[in-house]
Structures are given as structure tokens and as C-alpha cells.
């Protein structure tokens, strides 16, 4: 191979220029972040984002018209420029991947450079604009003249462009609010993450909150530290009626198990009552063949927890059951006077008047006795555009899978390794 002797910035541009350009932009971004700071930048909301987006598209079109015959267009729509931009973005995302992204109060170097909130920092913004610009050039270059054989390429690249563009511009219009619903009460207000309440164009009445739980699990804890003992796996075993299992060095037999129960005298009885908790009678056989027997219970908001001491160091106990499924039976009222009966469940949101309602949480202290349901209401007017981009990328991926890499095979085979 002959060594590349071209001086820097001499046409045609290659990898060196591409990397200098992309990382130069990063440097400018960090300098701006350090001096001006991004605090003054609010998220763009409608119609500013639409205007900015249109201007940006117009700008790309204009640049294309102006430079399409010049060498710089070949560079900007070429692979080295893409790789430079991807590398600069990767650099930022790797920082994001190793540092914790949490707000910091003090103005140290990390926070002044925006390293703890990279996604809202100026360098991130600049590199995304640059990436969209380069990707835009790449797409335009393949679009004109339009050839049928390029459909897979256009799907994946234009799809990516639309996704990043729409998701970025639309983020300011995304509204995520929470609503606390209490059984048999109508709620028409929701609050944001700062606790500001606002009226919604809909009201929700919680008719019933339902929750199913998994059975609690058996665990051994260290009495001195109170932490879970994990000498061997499994360290947690789900309780079933008549369970016989080996937990670390001990044999454990569940003689009786009640999903809801109450204590009376020296034992628990099956009981249906507010706060009735799971309980089990267990026998623990030690390695020395001693048997210890007793009741354990995870307790509830109004019943005590009870564990069984095996020896000075260890106790066996019952964990708090994990939720299996929770849902809210609600009536949704809209300003046009309509009433809809719905069941909201995790992973099954419901759309009404442009708002999506998600089942989020409940009063966890109360567990299965919770009469409160927390839902999230989300409005995302740009979602449709993001979906179009995503589906185009999916088609692009399927095309890629189906076709594999057939291009340049010959060049690879005839080429010489460097």
C-alpha cells in the first residue's frame, strides 16, 4: 500500500478531516456548555419546534442545491464523514454509559461540562444536529436520482433520520403527568414531576383496584446484620403448601400455609380480613438433625412480621410477596359527555382524546389492600412520525437480513490485505 501523502484539508477529504470536524464540533459544544451553559435552553414546544424543524429541512435542501456539484458534498455524503460523526456520538454515549447521570447541585467541572446530564447538554445537541445533517446528505444523495434497487438503503437511512428528528423535536411537546386515583372518587387533575397540578380534558373515576400477588418466598437472614444470607443458590424459594426443600444447609418443610391469615393464641388461622397476611408453619432440620418448628409471617400494614430463629446467627423468614398483576377498573369521562368503562393494566394502556393512560403503581405499603391506584397520562403528538421512522428501519433490517452482504464481495476477494 502506498502511504497517503495528502496534506490535511486538501481535497478530497478523508478520515482525518472527518474526525477533526466531528470532534472539533464536540469541543465547541463543551466550550459553549462550560461558558454559556445549557440552563438557558428550554425544551422547544409547539410551534417553535415545528418552525425550527422546517427551517432545518429547508437548510439541508438549500445546502444540497448549493454544494451538490462540489467535492465537499461527496465528502459529507460519504462514509468517512459518517464514521467520524458516529465516532463522536459514540464518544459521548460511552461517557454516559460509565458515569452516573444524576443531577448535581454543586458547580464542579463535571456538572459545568454537562457530563452528568449529557442528553440535555450542548455538545450532545450539536453532534446530533451534525449527524442528522450528514445522514441527510447521505439520504439525498441516494434519493436523487431515485433508483428502485436503493429502497432498502433508503428505508434504513431515512427511517433513522425521521426517528431521530421526530423524537428530538417532539420531546418538548411530550407531556407525562401522574394521577392518584382513589376508589369511588373522580379525579380530573394530574401533576408533573415537580408537583405542579393541572387540569386535564378528561376525568377518571376509580371503581375498583385489583391486585394479585405471587406467593411469598422463604429466605434465611443473618440476625446480626439483618441481610439476606446467600451462601448457596437458590437463596429464595417460593412457598407452596407442603413444600419440602433444601435452603443452604437446612431442610425446610412447610406443614401449613395460608395466603391470608391472622394469629390467635399460639398459631395462625385462615382469615379473610383487612390486613390479613400470609403465614406458614415450617419445620427446619439442621445438619445435626435437630428439628425447629414454628410459624413465620411477612406481616402486613397492620399485622406484625414474624420470623423463626434457627440458631444464634440465622433466622428463617418469609419475604413480602411480589405483585403478579394489578389493574384498575375505571370510568373515563370526556368533555363531550361520554363515559367509558375500562380496565387499565401494566403494558395495556388506553388512549382517549390524544392522551394515553398507563397503569403505573399503587399504595405499596398497603399491598393487596390498596384502594389507591397511580396512573400516568402521556401526550405525545409526534409519536406517529417516530413510528413511521421505526417501521422504515424495521423494513430496512429485514431487507438487510434477507440480502446479507453481497456488495463488494469481489473487491474483498481480489483485494490485498494491508
Amino acid at each position: 500500500m502506498t502511504k497517503n501523502t495528502k496534506t490535511l484539508w486538501q481535497s478530497p477529504w478523508g478520515y482525518s478531516e472527518s474526525f477533526l470536524l466531528a470532534f472539533g464540533l464536540l469541543l465547541i459544544g463543551f466550550a459553549l456548555e462550560f461558558t454559556v451553559g445549557s440552563a438557558s435552553f428550554g425544551s422547544l414546544v409547539f410551534p417553535q419546534n415545528l418552525i425550527l424543524g422546517s427551517v432545518y429541512i429547508l437548510l439541508i435542501a438549500m445546502v444540497y442545491v448549493l454544494i451538490r456539484k462540489k467535492a465537499i458534498f461527496k465528502f459529507l455524503s460519504g462514509i468517512p464523514a459518517s464514521i467520524g460523526a458516529i465516532a463522536a456520538l459514540s464518544f459521548l454515549v460511552v461517557i454516559m454509559g460509565v458515569t452516573s447521570q444524576t443531577p448535581m447541585e454543586n458547580r464542579e467541572l463535571v456538572s459545568r461540562l454537562g457530563l452528568n446530564r449529557l442528553t440535555s447538554s450542548i455538545p450532545f445537541l450539536i453532534i446530533n444536529f451534525y449527524l442528522l445533517f450528514v445522514l441527510g446528505m447521505v439520504v439525498i444523495q441516494k434519493l436523487f436520482p431515485l433508483k428502485l434497487k436503493n429502497w432498502g438503503f433508503i428505508c434504513s437511512h431515512l427511517g433513522l433520520w425521521i426517528t431521530v428528528f421526530a423524537a428530538g423535536l417532539g420531546s418538548g411537546d411530550l407531556q407525562r403527568l401522574r394521577m392518584d386515583l382513589n376508589e369511588n372518587q373522580i379525579e380530573g387533575r394530574a401533576y408533573d414531576d415537580k408537583g405542579n397540578y393541572m387540569d386535564l380534558p378528561l376525568a377518571i373515576k376509580l371503581n375498583d383496584f385489583k391486585i394479585e400477588e405471587f406467593h411469598p418466598k422463604l429466605a434465611v437472614i443473618d440476625n446480626t446484620t439483618g441481610s439476606l444470607y446467600e451462601a448457596s443458590k437458590p437463596s429464595l424459594i417460593m412457598i407452596e403448601d407442603g413444600l419440602k426443600c433444601k435452603l443452604h444447609d437446612w431442610e425446610i418443610i412447610v406443614d401449613e400455609f395460608f395466603v391470608t391469615s391472622g394469629r390467635a393464641g399460639d398459631r395462625y388461622y385462615f382469615l379473610v380480613d383487612l390486613g390479613a397476611a400470609p403465614a406458614a408453619k415450617v419445620r427446619v432440620i439442621t445438619p445435626a438433625k435437630d428439628t425447629i418448628s414454628g410459624w413465620i409471617s411477612c406481616g402486613s400494614f397492620n399485622r406484625p412480621h414474624e420470623s423463626l430463629k434457627i440458631d444464634e446467627r440465622f433466622s428463617v423468614l418469609m419475604t413480602v410477596p411480589e405483585p403478579k398483576k394489578f389493574s384498575s377498573e375505571v370510568s373515563i369521562y370526556t368533555p363531550d359527555g361520554q363515559k367509558q368503562e375500562q380496565t387499565l393494566e401494566v403494558n395495556k394502556p388506553f388512549t382517549v382524546n390524544g392522551w394515553k393512560i398507563y397503569q403505573l403503581s399503587y399504595d405499596e405499603k398497603m399491598g393487596i389492600y390498596s384502594t389507591k391506584s397511580i396512573v400516568e397520562v402521556v401526550k405525545d403528538p409526534w409519536q406517529i412520525f417516530v413510528y413511521i421512522g421505526v417501521f422504515m428501519m424495521m423494513i430496512g433490517s429485514v431487507y438487510m437480513f434477507w440480502r446479507g452482504n453481497k456488495v463488494k464481495n469481489e473487491e474483498t476477494l481480489t483485494g490485498v490485505s494491508n
Binding site: 460519504g78 462514509i79 468517512p80 459518517s82 464514521i83 458516529i86 456520538l89 459514540s90 454515549v93 460511552v94 454516559m96 454509559g97 460509565v98 452516573s100 447521570q101 442528553t119 423524537a167 411530550l174 405471587f214 439476606l228 446467600e230 443458590k233 437458590p234 437463596s235 429464595l236 424459594i237 417460593m238 411480589e322 405483585p323 403478579k324 398483576k325 394489578f326 401494566v346 403494558n347 394502556p349 394515553k356 398507563y358 400516568e376 402521556v378 405525545d380 428501519m393 424495521m394 430496512g396 433490517s397 429485514v398 438487510m400 437480513f401 440480502r403 446479507g404 452482504n405 456488495v407 463488494k408 464481495n409 473487491e411 474483498t412 476477494l413 483485494g415 490485498v416 490485505s417 494491508n418
Partner: protein
């Protein structure tokens, strides 16, 4: 107990594959043995699925199991298509390694599955990802072999074609996995992408393979740098796959495979 069945399944795979390695000349019998070993893992996964009453994709041990299943499948397909014997044996050996890791680190098998994971997106998201990982792991084996050949000064251009094919297949799956995940997140939480540590590293991995593909298209006759990019991309994939579990920032990630599941 599930555990005894695991030993049986892993034992069948290990013995059939070891036997297969000793009779490379009798192709029909050898291939039959390889497939028998793969079937044994498949049956165990099916059994586990039924007994857990949920898809066994939650813990690290469970994903290793899928990996141990898909790797030999892909190794076998690659062998079938391009007649690379070594690819078959590499993938069998790697699969056995994963089974062995599961043997020395038995994970907790339990039925609990948090409501957010109870979604029709769960299986396609994870299966597509594991498929992608298996293809890309296979491509990194090719990269290592290529780098070794290059070190010896006898790099065959054919090996690059194989790497390309595997990366293209793997990358297509990787992209689909990423997009399925984004659509699922939108359905479950109202947001496509939250820059959760796992998502961040998945994105970095995706960018790594993106660089490889573009570099190969641009400079198809430069092998060494491309091979290094491919090897590095696999390191990113490994960080994304399980390294991220050890990052302190991943503590509250929805993607952390809970050890106590």
C-alpha cells in the same frame, strides 16, 4: 427437580458433541449427533418454560441457556452454508462452556415475573436479541481467527466475507431487538428510550457494528483495521450483555437481571 434435568440435558449435549468431534469423517452420523445435542438443550428449555409458567428469559443463567442453544444452531447453519468445520467446533465448545458456567453457578429458578415484563413483546425482544448476540459472537470468533491469520501473514480474504455475512445477519437482528424494545417501552411506560444504562450500552454496541459495516463498505480491501473494529465491537457487546450488571449506575435499571429473581 429442574436441576437434575439440566444435568441430564447438558450431559447428553456434552457427550454427543464430544463423540461428534471424534468422527469428523462420517459426516452424516456426526451431524446427527450435533443436532441431537442441540435438541437436548431445546427440550430442556421447553421443559423449563412449562415448569416456570413463564418464558425462561429473566435471569442471566436463563439467557446463557438460550445462548448455549442458539450458538450451535448458528454454528451448524454456518457450517452447512460455507463448509467451515472449525466454526462448528468453536460454537459447540463455546456452548459447552456456557452450560458449564450454568452448572457451577446454578441460578435461582422461580416463577415470579414482574408485571412490566408480562407483555407479548417480551419473547420477541429477547429472542431476537439472543439471536443477534449469537451471530455477533460467531463473527467475533471469525475476527479472532482472521487476526491470528493476519499475525501469521496468511490472511485469507474469504474469512472477511464470512465475518461480513455474520455481522449483517447479527446487525439486522440487533436493530430489530433495539426497535422492538423501544416500541415495547412506549407501550409499557410511554417512552421509547430512557437512556437506562442497559439501553445506553445497547446503543453503543449498535454504533460499534455500524462503524464496522461502514468501514467494510468503504475500504473492502483493508482487512486488519476492520478486524480490530469487529473485535472491539464484541467487547462492547459483552459490556452491554453482562458487564453492565456490575456498573453502580445500573442498580435501578429495568434490565438488570436480578440474581434473586
Amino acid at each position: 427437580m429442574i436441576w437434575n434435568h439440566f444435568l441430564l440435558a447438558a450431559g447428553v449435549s456434552a457427550s454427543t458433541w464430544l463423540l461428534a468431534a471424534f468422527i469428523p469423517k462420517r459426516e452424516l452420523i456426526r451431524n446427527g449427533l450435533v443436532l441431537l445435542g442441540i435438541a437436548s438443550i431445546a427440550i430442556f428449555i421447553g421443559f423449563l418454560w412449562i415448569s416456570l409458567e413463564r418464558p425462561p428469559m429473566r435471569t442471566l443463567g436463563e439467557t446463557r441457556l438460550w445462548y448455549a442453544f442458539f450458538l450451535p444452531v448458528i454454528g451448524f447453519i454456518t457450517y452447512w452454508r460455507w463448509r467451515y468445520n472449525w466454526m462448528l467446533y468453536y460454537s459447540l465448545a463455546l456452548s459447552l462452556l456456557f452450560l458449564f458456567i450454568n452448572y457451577i453457578h446454578p441460578e435461582n429458578f422461580s416463577k415470579t415475573l414482574m408485571p412490566a415484563l408480562q407483555s407479548p413483546w417480551f419473547v420477541p425482544h429477547v429472542v431476537v436479541y439472543i439471536f443477534a448476540y449469537a451471530f455477533l459472537a460467531a463473527s467475533s470468533l471469525v475476527a479472532m481467527r482472521g487476526l491470528y491469520q493476519e499475525y501469521k501473514g496468511q490472511l485469507q480474504p474469504k474469512i472477511m466475507l464470512m465475518a461480513d455475512n455474520l455481522v449483517y445477519l447479527g446487525f439486522a437482528f440487533l436493530t430489530l431487538g433495539l426497535l422492538f424494545g423501544a416500541l415495547w417501552a412506549k407501550e409499557a411506560w410511554g417512552h421509547y428510550w430512557t437512556w437506562d444504562p442497559k439501553e445506553t450500552w445497547a446503543f453503543i454496541t449498535w454504533l460499534g457494528y455500524l462503524v464496522y459495516i461502514h468501514r467494510r463498505l468503504h475500504m473492502p480491501s483493508k482487512f486488519k483495521s476492520s478486524l480490530w473494529i469487529l473485535a472491539l465491537a464484541f467487547v462492547l457487546l459483552l459490556i452491554c450483555w453482562f458487564g453492565v450488571n456490575y456498573l453502580p449506575s445500573a442498580q435501578f435499571s429495568v434490565h438488570t437481571y436480578s440474581q434473586q429473581a
